[in-house]
């Protein structure tokens, strides 16, 4: 039997919370890749944020050995995938490294938007789908209904799918056998020129970048000279091997069909882009593997340290994060209001939130962020087109011939009773209705074209609250469409606060401006002077609020010479002031900057 016939490369796909990570843990246990003693819950998700949010952010992979009922010892390469639309491209590259996918469906929740989206992705990549129905231990479990749903909606046979409880370890072996039987072994010629697909990489301070690859053709050897076909970068392989659950196992070579890692003294993950093809310098492949593209940020925002002195710390932290995240882009930026900071680009809003959280948590930075923005395409009267991701750079309206904003094709899966609420929400967000598809009697897929700028704030929250959490949502970038845009400025005490400006559709400008002024009034405390708050488009004020002047702030009592007490009280007040941003003579609390991001009730 050829070596590759005993290999199964697969991933697990599921909707958030349907039990992907728990199932991965059970599989790891069963293949004794890791002793139970070493298991912390949910081994594959090893970042705190992932655990808390129950989502997998970065792909990981592990090589397992399983002795099947046919008596043969199989090699399983389990490739974990991120479970969020922000990381769709990474998901697609992980899928491309596999021949099959285990589709986990919750026995009570059934098919959700992400289940569909990920399954479609898997099918597009010609993956064999092995469905399993999880959480049969739940009282609300209805495996038969869910199995029918999978057959009806996704169109794959599911009636005999293993019914399991990953949590309780029930029937896990059935899945293992299905993987052996149902997922094809990898093909590929180990003697052909090398073509290895990069599906993940991360930075290790001792070894440099560790690159996770699936060898599609040829052989990757320790010591060989390699080239990244997309970026053109060349390196000498220092180490190659396979991934255990908790450590790496070096080997001399990786052959076609195998999944493993290599290191090559690579300093920067930017040289090891996910989706790129690794080939040999000596006898290079003629063509790269299909599907590679550079990670494209879709959402931008300014990130500033609350304490200006922490600017170098913020830069160091961003650089450290970028070592592991080639899709994170940042450039220095200055704001009159916020001082020195960075303009950062993200794959999506979740990506943004994750980065912010990591900056605050892992690097103990206190940050202020400006309103997230998408990239607008503005055609000027001189015929030039500019990309605008920062309201500060928005051109003079007189020079604008045409403005365009990005739209996404959104699919919302919902119980039928919420269609009305969802349509109302999408309408509010300037959605363009595409169609509605009944997946079964109660389940509907509503599709809209939505401006990306309208969903980067709080669309997901709004959707959840209007549907009692039942609707799920997925999207992909669709196209740029003409739009009527204006830049909304905020003036405090007559001076524009650049950090509060944003670009908005003309029809929403008045409402947003009014809301913004009200919000700011709530968050700016009374100070020594009256503070007028104005929202303006061009020079025209569209909303005005006033923070009245404070009238009393005094220590009137004579403390019998206890000057220290007075000093301490002033010190305390000063500490409070430090949490404020000084904009001209106006003091603005940090939270005012974030409060204005959440303008929808």
């Amino acid at each position: 039997m050829a070596y590759n016939e005993l290999i199964r490369n697969f991933c697990i796909i599921a909707h958030i919370d349907h039990g992907k990570s728990t199932l991965a843990d059970r599989i790891l246990e069963l293949t004794s890749a890791v002793s139970e003693r070493d298991m912390s819950d949910q081994l594959l998700d090893n970042m705190d944020i992932e655990k808390e949010r129950g989502i997998t952010i970065k792909a990981r992979a592990v090589r397992l050995e399983y002795e099947a009922k046919d008596g043969k010892l199989y090699v399983f390469n389990l490739i974990d995938t991120p479970g969020h639309v922000d990381f769709n491209y990474e998901v697609s590259r992980s899928l491309a490294a596999c021949e099959g996918a285990v589709l986990v469906v919750d026995a009570s929740q059934g098919v959700e938007a992400q289940t569909l989206a990920n399954t479609y992705l898997a099918v597009e990549n010609d993956l064999e789908i092995v469905p399993v129905i999880n959480k049969i231990d739940l009282p609300a479990a209805d495996p038969e209904r869910v199995a029918r749903e999978v057959e009806d909606i996704i169109g794959i046979p599911c009636l005999d799918a293993p019914r399991i409880s990953a949590k309780n370890g029930v029937n896990i072996e059935a899945i293992m056998e299905r993987i052996v039987e149902g997922i094809p072994y990898p093909l590929g010629d180990e003697n052909a020129p090398l073509k290895a697909l990069i599906f993940d990489s991360f930075y290790d301070s001792y070894k440099g970048v560790i690159v996770y690859v699936r060898v599609m053709e040829g052989t990757l050897r320790k010591g060989m000279e390699i080239r990244m076909m997309g970026t053109g970068a060349e390196f000498g392989v220092v180490e190659a091997g396979t991934m255990g659950a908790t450590s790496l196992f070096p080997r001399e070579l990786l052959r076609a069909g195998e999944v493993g890692y290599f290191t090559a003294s690579i300093k920067n993950v930017a040289d090891t882009q996910v989706g790129d093809t690794v080939t040999g310098v000596e006898s290079p492949a003629k063509e790269a593997l299909p599907g590679y593209r550079k990670a494209m940020p879709m959402v931008y925002c300014g990130i500033y340290p609350q304490d200006g002195a922490k600017y170098p710390d913020l830069r160091d932290a961003l650089e450290k994060l970028r070592l592991n995240d080639a899709s994170l882009g940042f450039e220095p930026e200055t704001s009159v209001a916020l001082g020195f900071g960075f303009r950062c680009g993200f794959l999506g809003l979740l990506h943004l939130e994750i980065i912010l959280e990591r900056l605050e948590r892992e690097f103990s930075l206190d940050l202020i962020t400006t309103a997230p923005s998408v990239i607008y395409k503005i055609t000027l009267t001189n015929g030039k087109t500019v990309d605008i991701d920062n309201p500060t750079n928005y051109p003079d309206p007189a020079t604008i011939q045409k403005a365009q904003e990005p739209f996404v094709a959104a699919a919302i899966l919902t119980p039928a009773e919420y269609i009305g609420a969802i349509m109302e929400l999408c309408q509010q967000r300037r959605g363009i209705y595409t169609d509605t598809k009944y997946l079964d009697a109660d389940r509907v897929e509503v599709r809209y074209l939505l401006p990306l700028g309208e969903i980067i704030y709080d669309f997901f929250d709004a959707l959840k609250s209007r549907t009692k959490g039942y609707a799920s949502f997925d999207y992909e970038l669709s196209e740029y469409r003409d739009s009527r845009l204006v830049k909304l400025d905020v003036l405090l005490n007559g001076e524009t606060v650049d950090a509060l400006s944003f670009i908005v559709h003309a029809d929403n400008a008045y409402a947003r401006g009014r809301k913004l002024a009200e919000r700011l009034k709530e968050h700016i405390p009374r100070q020594m002077f009256e503070v007028p708050i104005q929202a303006a488009i061009g020079g025209k004020v569209i909303a005005r609020e006033t923070v009245k002047a404070m009238r009393k702030d005094v220590l009137a009592k004579c403390y019998g010479g206890d000057i220290t007490r007075k000093k301490k009280l002033l010190e305390k007040q000063k500490e409070g002031k430090k949490k404020m941003r000084q904009l001209g003579t106006v003091e603005v609390p940090q939270e005012a900057f974030t409060a204005v991001l959440k303008l929808d009730d």
Partner: protein, 372 residues
């Protein structure tokens, strides 16, 4: 340090009853306690005199607590002790805080004879309902009696305390209190805005304590300042008003960063460039053969930030010349305040306006940033 300008403060931590808004250090009065404590103060003064660091004082202030509770004899002993151990200037201002109901005409006559020349009466309000809400033991008439008795005993320098922004106070009731004060032979009035301290019954009262709001409080303060000014009391500090020449020398010393020695538990001192204090513990103070060993260091004092912070409380203001090269930054900030009517600037002297007084914390912080 000009020795003549030092102030001596004796803290008398006894009260007939603790007022529910007060967080000063005070204990229930007993004869034995008072006796032992007076002895301890004398002992402390003796130790100070022996050390010789502070010898000459131009003001003596007995505050509390309720110092008048000690009685004429002990008060006489304390003054006599101070005069014997130190050199008190010929025009030394010698103040006794006295609460209505704790001083009679005879006692006041005796005190005047002993050498006390200033009485500060805790009037607080001219409205009985307000006095009751404050938990005071006296009614307005008793306050009148106390002031008149002092006057008749020969005191020509009498101060009254008035509280602003207290529960139930309105513009009208404040007017009554001010009329009440105007009818008395006073040379000085301290008008304090009530500050609710957390560790007091008022601080713990929560919602049940209804106080004037920020706007009402500001209005009460302005009305008070204006009325007193019209009645011939000029405002020389945020909370202090005096007929010409009757400004409290002792309290001015605090704001002008002059040295002072405070004896007794919770009393604060500033001399030799350092601030220090005694802990809130009468037992140790009385038990200690040399109470001065109980002095706790409170860090250096008298730097420019402190001088600015204290000086701006005074109507005379703060002379930025003392800041040398930093004066420009502070004056630039003062310009901004002045544009909003919060201060005046004249020959480098910044003086807060009445509006500025009422926002003095913010205004002072704003100016202090000019020093950074």
């Amino acid at each position: 340090m000009t020795a003549d300008s030092a102030g001596l403060y004796l803290h008398i931590p006894f009260c007939a009853r603790k007022c529910p808004y007060c967080d000063f250090y005070s204990l229930p009065f007993t004869e034995e306690g008072a006796q032992a404590y007076a002895g301890a103060l004398l002992r402390a003064m003796k130790r100070v005199a022996e050390k010789g660091e502070l010898k000459r004082f131009s003001s003596l202030y007995l505050g509390g607590g309720t110092p008048s509770l000690l009685g004429a004899y002990r008060l006489a002993c304390l003054l006599e002790g101070a005069a014997r151990l130190f050199s008190l200037s010929p025009d030394c201002e010698i103040t006794l805080e006295a609460n209505p109901g704790t001083v009679g005409a005879d006692m006041l006559k005796s005190l005047r004879k002993t050498g006390y020349n200033r009485i500060s009466v805790g009037v607080q309000s001219g409205v009985d309902g307000e006095l009751a809400a404050l938990g005071r033991i006296h009614a307005a008439e008793e306050a009148r009696t106390a002031v008149l008795s002092a006057y008749n005993a020969g005191f020509d320098n009498i101060s009254a305390d008035l509280m602003l922004a207290i529960p139930g106070q309105t513009g009208e009731s404040l007017g009554k209190s001010l009329d009440f004060l105007k009818s008395l032979p006073l040379s000085h009035i301290s008008a304090y805005l009530l500050k609710v301290e957390e560790a007091t019954p008022f601080g713990q009262a929560g919602e049940s304590l209804i106080l004037p709001g920020e706007d009402e409080t500001a209005d009460l303060y302005y009305a008070c300042c204006q009325t007193l000014e019209w009645a011939g009391f000029s405002q020389y500090e945020i909370s202090n008003f005096a007929r010409p020449g009757y400004e409290s020398r002792h309290n001015l010393g605090y704001w002008r960063c002059l040295p002072y020695l405070g004896l007794g538990p919770s009393a604060h001192s500033f001399f030799g460039g350092r601030r220090r204090f005694f802990g809130r513990d009468i037992k140790s103070f009385v038990a200690e053969e040399n109470p001065l060993v109980l002095f706790e260091d409170d860090g250096p004092g008298g730097d420019e930030a402190e001088r600015l912070m204290l000086g701006l409380r005074l109507a005379e203001g703060f002379d930025t010349a003392a800041l040398k090269e930093k004066s420009a930054a502070v004056l630039n900030r003062a310009e901004i305040l002045s544009r909003h009517g919060l201060c005046g600037i004249s020959d480098g002297v910044i003086s807060l306006s009445r509006k500025g007084f009422l926002l003095s914390n913010s205004a002072i912080l704003f100016l202090l940033e000019g020093l950074e």
